[in-house]
């Protein structure tokens, strides 16, 4: 494969072309769509976390004016089977609406279809459900032991066990042979036998609620007679949605069109295809009318997948000089009540990241995924990587404290050195490239690390509670398979490109038009980027896992390169007689296609485009006088990187805790991120800022808290603390650039970076601040009350 030439606009701060519509309230989100005859759905949800459905009385709901129909789970199951998932492990059946047993508070038990949103909600409230309660499983340790109940007694899990809450067990690391299934403990045992210091800590990466500002929503429109289904969905991956709809409804992929209009944020939670989506499709098909469902925020808290929720028992073996000898980890992931699309996969990514940026000679990890009576988990920004990096970075920080070493110097001592790439970690990932020392040096310099230390010590001497923290992250990107793109240069010289990635705030229209603008030498405002519509975009895998620039951007450039090559042939053909121009000697600059070094010999972009469709003569003569290959300027490309990319970075924070209130303020946050080549720094900064805020949110504020009955106590923005503008400092960003060998532009991915690095950085800083009080570890979120009690000398 030939690599595309580097567009000259790479690295320019270009403001977004998406914005004019969005800042004027002209964007169209799912809830803005209205179709004639459209009905509205509302779901009756379980109030209890675990129980058998004894009876459902829908009579009062059915009697209400405007109610079209009410369907219980059992009635729906007659024409809608269990939902598909994309992981290969054994999983229990999961119906869109519970048929006989509910397993989390908020699980749907019936659906109402009505002429009006208010009526649908009233009718759902009027449904009476009688349950026979079952014991509720909340604690993951107890879940592991099947105590006090087993959620899916009929499931035979990957270990061949029935009657267990273990959904998945994955051993990984040094001495474990996944093919033979054999385990050799000698290396990891030797590491701990030779250790001079062992750090051991249980830590919890708590459950989070993704909370995209736009809740989920769907409009499904089955057209009888045409036998086609059009679905507008607030999704990150319309093609996956189409494929799963087809699978469950028994329709062909040519019959179903899924459109992702403006999507108001996703953060991983809109990767999933949910029960409500399937029900909307099935009900629309049954009734022959369009059906809309829009999630309330209080529904979203229980009905949309949660993120994280992994407990780690971590041990690090090291020498007194700071050399790390080994890492042993036991992970328990609390995945909630069911497996959604990628639920089981996400914690396995934690396993894979446990080496962090360090050359650790022996790693052993064991992962248990357990069912509990909670909302299912799945991808949330970072998806498994933040958890892994959090555990490692907390562990490294504890080791530095134990050894009395500077946390930067301890990290430096154990870094994978730049000349060792590509590097296969003992956790099982092959890192493509990295220069960790460069990022560390820049972070230390930008933060003025030594100065900050003096500042901290001086503040402490005054009795203030101040701390410094550092973290170093690496993540795996470019996963998620191939991506598809097409590029068409129209007869008028304008360009349409399609991408199978599907943005929800990432600015693909801006970034991809910039790439093509540089490639074709025409202004970006002559280029339209089409996404989020399976009828217009042939294939795609969506926007997730920080993959869009890496895979989608490269696919677009490859498609562009093919069209450009064809266009050069047309131009050469046109110029041939006068200049004997060769296609490969032509350059595309400033709206012209011309001979390199002799710009006077050339044609305008529009002239060549017109020629490609209309030939040398007039319209009647079209088809005559073309070079070999015939008319037209359109082509497509599939592209998949040869290997995953591994962006990385170093974050440094200074925090201060108010002695009187326990409130923690982030005084300074320096983030060095290396995502390889940066196409649009403005957009990359925005991605990092947002990630930092979410990572800080996890460290300080957010947490899905369940009571012993399996009730979500933090079920609204009143109790679930989202980061607000005043909770955050002004971030200080900078970058190093280590290109990836796997992508033609050297890009690596940036969408999740900030989320991964900032969380351990803040917790490390908080632990440092509270170390005078004897603190060596704190579990998140670092609520003021927790910190206040420590300062007041109370129990942690």
């Amino acid at each position: 494969m030939t690599s595309p030439t580097l567009p000259k606009l790479i690295g320019a701060r270009i403001k977004r072309r998406e914005d004019p519509r969005l800042i004027q309230g002209r964007g169209t989100y799912v809830d803005d769509i209205k179709l004639a005859g459209m009905l509205h759905m509302a779901f009756k949800r379980s109030d209890i976390a675990h129980g058998r459905i004894v009876s459902i009385d829908t009579s009062a709901a059915e009697a209400m004016e405007g109610v079209e129909c009410v369907l219980t789970g059992a009635q729906l199951a007659e024409f809608l089977g269990p939902m598909p998932i994309l992981t290969p492990f054994p999983a229990p059946p999961h119906y869109a609406v519970a048929t006989d047993t509910v397993r989390y508070a908020g699980e749907p038990v019936a659906v109402v279809v009505a002429t009006d949103r208010y009526v649908a909600r009233d009718a759902a409230d009027a449904i009476q459900v009688e349950f026979d309660p079952l014991p509720v499983v909340v604690d993951p340790d107890r879940a592991l032991a099947g105590d006090p109940a087993v959620l899916h007694p009929d499931l035979t899990n990957i270990l061949g066990q029935t009657g267990s809450n273990i959904a998945l067990y994955v051993p990984a690391g040094t001495g474990f042979d996944p093919v033979a299934g054999t385990v050799d403990n000698s290396a990891i045992d030797a590491a701990f036998a030779n250790a001079e210091v062992v750090i051991s800590q249980r830590m919890w990466n708590q459950r989070l609620v993704p909370n995209a500002m736009e809740p989920r929503g769907v409009v499904a429109h089955w057209e009888p007679g045409k036998d086609t289904l059009t679905v507008w969905s607030s999704t990150q991956n319309p093609h996956t949605a189409r494929n799963t709809f087809c699978g469950l409804l028994g329709l062909g992929q040519d019959q179903v069109r899924v459109i992702a209009p403006e999507v108001g944020g996703g953060f991983g939670a809109k990767i999933n295809i949910y029960g409500e989506d399937y029900v909307a499709c099935a009900v629309s098909r049954r009734l022959g009318l369009p059906v809309k469902w829009i999630e309330d925020r209080s529904e979203a808290f229980v009905a949309t997948t949660h993120g994280r929720d992994i407990v780690a028992d971590l041990e690090i073996a090291a020498k007194r000089d700071g050399t790390i000898l080994g890492l042993r980890v036991k992970l328990i992931a609390d995945i909630g009540a069911y497996e959604m699309l990628l639920t089981a996969l996400v914690p396995t990514l934690t396993n894979g990241m446990l080496s962090g940026v360090y050359d650790i000679p022996a790693i052993r990890s064991e992962l248990y995924e357990v069912f509990t009576n909670k909302t299912p988990t799945d991808a949330y920004r970072g998806a498994g990587r933040p958890e892994g990096i959090y555990f490692v970075e907390r562990g490294i920080d504890m080791l530095a404290r134990e050894l009395g070493m500077d946390p930067g110097e301890l990290r430096r001592k154990n870094f994978i050195k730049p000349d060792k790439f590509p590097f296969m970690t003992q956790a099982g990932n092959q890192y493509d490239s990295g220069n960790y020392e460069a990022a560390l040096d820049l972070a230390l310099k930008n933060a003025n690390w030594e100065g900050l230390k003096r500042e901290r010590d001086a503040a402490r001497a005054e009795g203030r509670v101040v701390g410094l923290g550092m973290s170093f992250y690496v993540e795996i990107c470019g996963i998620g398979g191939w991506e598809h793109a097409s590029v068409t240069v129209h007869a008028d010289g304008r360009i349409t490109a399609t991408t199978g990635t599907s943005p929800h705030g990432q600015g693909h229209e801006t970034t991809f038009s910039t790439l093509l603008s540089g490639q074709f030498g025409v202004p970006a405002d002559r280029i339209t980027i089409v996404h989020g519509d399976t009828a217009m975009v042939k294939a795609g895998n969506g926007t997730l896992g920080s993959r869009s620039q890496v895979s989608g951007g490269t696919a677009i450039m490859n498609a562009g390169e093919k069209v450009k090559g064809r266009m050069a042939e047309f131009a050469a053909f046109m110029l041939g007689a006068e200049a004997e121009a060769k296609a490969d000697e032509l350059e595309f600059v400033d709206g012209r296609i011309q001979l390199a070094g002799t710009p006077s010999i050339g044609k305008t972009f529009e002239e060549v485009a017109a020629f490609a469709y209309m030939g040398a003569g007039n319209a009647a003569g079209a088809g005559m006088g073309y070079p070999e290959g015939g008319a037209g300027l359109t082509d497509e490309a599939f592209w998949e990187p040869a290997g995953a990319t591994f962006p990385f970075g170093c974050h440094i924070a200074m925090v201060e805790v108010d002695r009187d209130t326990g409130e923690l303020a982030v005084k300074k946050l320096v983030a060095i991120d290396d995502c390889g080549t940066v196409v649009n720094p403005l957009i990359v900064e925005g991605q990092v800022h947002g990630g930092l805020a979410q990572g800080i949110g996890q460290a300080l504020l957010e947490g899905a808290v369940y009571d012993e009955d399996g009730q979500l106590l933090t079920g609204s923005f009143m109790d679930y603390a989202m980061p607000r503008a005043s909770d955050l400092p002004r971030f200080e960003l900078d970058k190093t650039t280590t290109v990836s060998p796997h992508t033609p532009l050297g890009t690596k991915g940036i969408g999740e970076a900030g989320t991964i690095g900032s969380t351990p950085c803040i917790v490390n800083a908080a632990v440092d601040a509270l170390s005078p009080f004897g603190v060596t570890h704190l579990d998140m979120p670092l609520r003021p009350e927790l910190l206040w009690r420590i300062i007041q000398g109370g129990a942690q």
Binding site: S46, D47, A105, F301, Q711, G715, S716, M718, D719
Partner: protein
């Protein structure tokens, strides 16, 4: 959520005991209680109207009096289902002689399910406190009424 507290009555223990176990007095004292119909020995079906923020609504449920120790203590088990979800309460009432009357000590817990748990959980402690206060106030009036 645990609830606990005391209330001082200016009436003898026997009078308080009788009032607190009298269905008519119970209904009169229970704030927002609209109906209370016996369903068995010491068990009643009730409807209660609550007007506090996210837990606002009409709840239908049951009240059961259990573990009676004549003149000394009993358990009050309440459960109510409404639009915003379900609330279960279980409290032990203990009566003792106190200077100038009777001291009632209560100790128990309240559990919420559904939207109440998600949206109104923070309010339940306060609402329970408020309603318990109203209950005892109402009961005081009942004790006085019955004495008169």
């Amino acid at each position: 959520m645990d609830i606990a507290g005391t209330h001082q009555f200016a009436a003898p223990r026997a009078a308080v005991w009788e009032a607190m176990l009298d269905p008519a007095s119970l209904q009169a004292a229970m704030p927002g209680c609209e109906t209370m119909d016996p369903t068995g020995e010491d068990a009643y079906a009730i409807t209660i109207k609550v007007g506090i923020a996210a837990i606002k609504g009409t709840y239908s449920g049951t009240v059961r009096v259990a573990d009676q120790v004549e003149g000394e203590s009993y358990r009050l088990v309440v459960s109510g289902q409404g639009k915003p979800g379900k609330v279960n309460g279980d409290a032990t009432m203990t009566l003792s002689d106190a200077a100038g009357g009777t001291l009632v000590t209560y100790r128990g817990d309240v559990h919420a399910q559904g939207a109440i748990a998600r949206l109104g959980n923070r309010l339940i402690g306060g609402a329970a406190k408020l309603m318990i206060g109203q209950f005892f106030k109402g009961m005081e009036a009942e004790v006085t009424r019955r004495a008169g």
